[in-house]
Symmetry: C2
Subunit: 193 residues, 2 copies
Amino acid sequence: MEQIKGYSYGDSALDKSPITLQDLDLLKKTLLWSKDDERYLNMAGKVLQDQTDQVLDLWYNYVGSNEHLLYYFTVDGKPDERYLAAVRERFKQWVLDLCNRPYDQAWLDYQYEIAKRHHATKKNKTDKVDSVPIIHFRYIVAFIYPITATIKDFLAKKGDSPQDVEGMHNAWFKAVTLTALLWCYPYVQQGEF
Amino acid sequence: MEQIKGYSYGDSALDKSPITLQDLDLLKKTLLWSKDDERYLNMAGKVLQDQTDQVLDLWYNYVGSNEHLLYYFTVDGKPDERYLAAVRERFKQWVLDLCNRPYDQAWLDYQYEIAKRHHATKKNKTDKVDSVPIIHFRYIVAFIYPITATIKDFLAKKGDSPQDVEGMHNAWFKAVTLTALLWCYPYVQQGEF
């Protein structure tokens, strides 16, 4: 597989997540997480494996048709195609990582890295672009909805039973909620996360 | 109807929301909000009207069986029943307000009030209790999942068609996501919301 630019999952140089594995366990409990969710996420990983381009087509079409979202990819008021393309490759990989990776320390550390890349801490640095300095907090959380709602049709495309599609979708919803909240860390005031 | 203690929806003494109606429009756009969602929320309001006690039974059972969540209602390490009961009445009303209220300035202002009541700004003040000082940010966002997943059975209880139940559930998911992110305002660093 071709190396994805800026994809540093598992890199030992990454900062350690401020969220511990114990914190993660309590978050999973809050999300009513079960072994079934892991099984369903792995199933979703197989179902989505060869559909990530179509998924990203849909998501990028959505972002592209919302000026207030496309804004976050602009340089001097114009969308930066190179920036959009680089993020797209990592976003595709994120879909698969969400489904296939164990949620361990390496996973936590990479969520922290992604968090900083949305926040002023590190936005634009990975792709060496001169875009706007931060993706505002509100859209990190708001994205839980479109990212969850739009995946269902893709999950249903491989002929799995309605129960399995529902199970995959439910696990995806939990996983996206968990990920989105972890990505908020740099935005939240000290001691309040 | 008996007055709900601390329920100050529409009170002109409330602080004005830092989120404008224009911000709200863009958030609704991000959530793919449509007139259908308003119709479905109103439908959900009718379906849930006489079920709010059962809904709260389920949610309180969930909180009560998770020590790390019940913690936020403790005084000196013990759950405060009076505090839990007071919040429960407002939580019931929130279910109906989410479905029935227009999302206008008064709605925004009351979301801001609720936000502060979760945050250290105002937690405990409404009910004059000496509980822990803040509900941590992570659980405000995490709650999007259980609050959305568990409502579906209640939405299905009045014999509406599967399409209508799905429509109500989808609109509920959007509304809960919107509400949860608005409740995060006091936690987020200046200028980053």
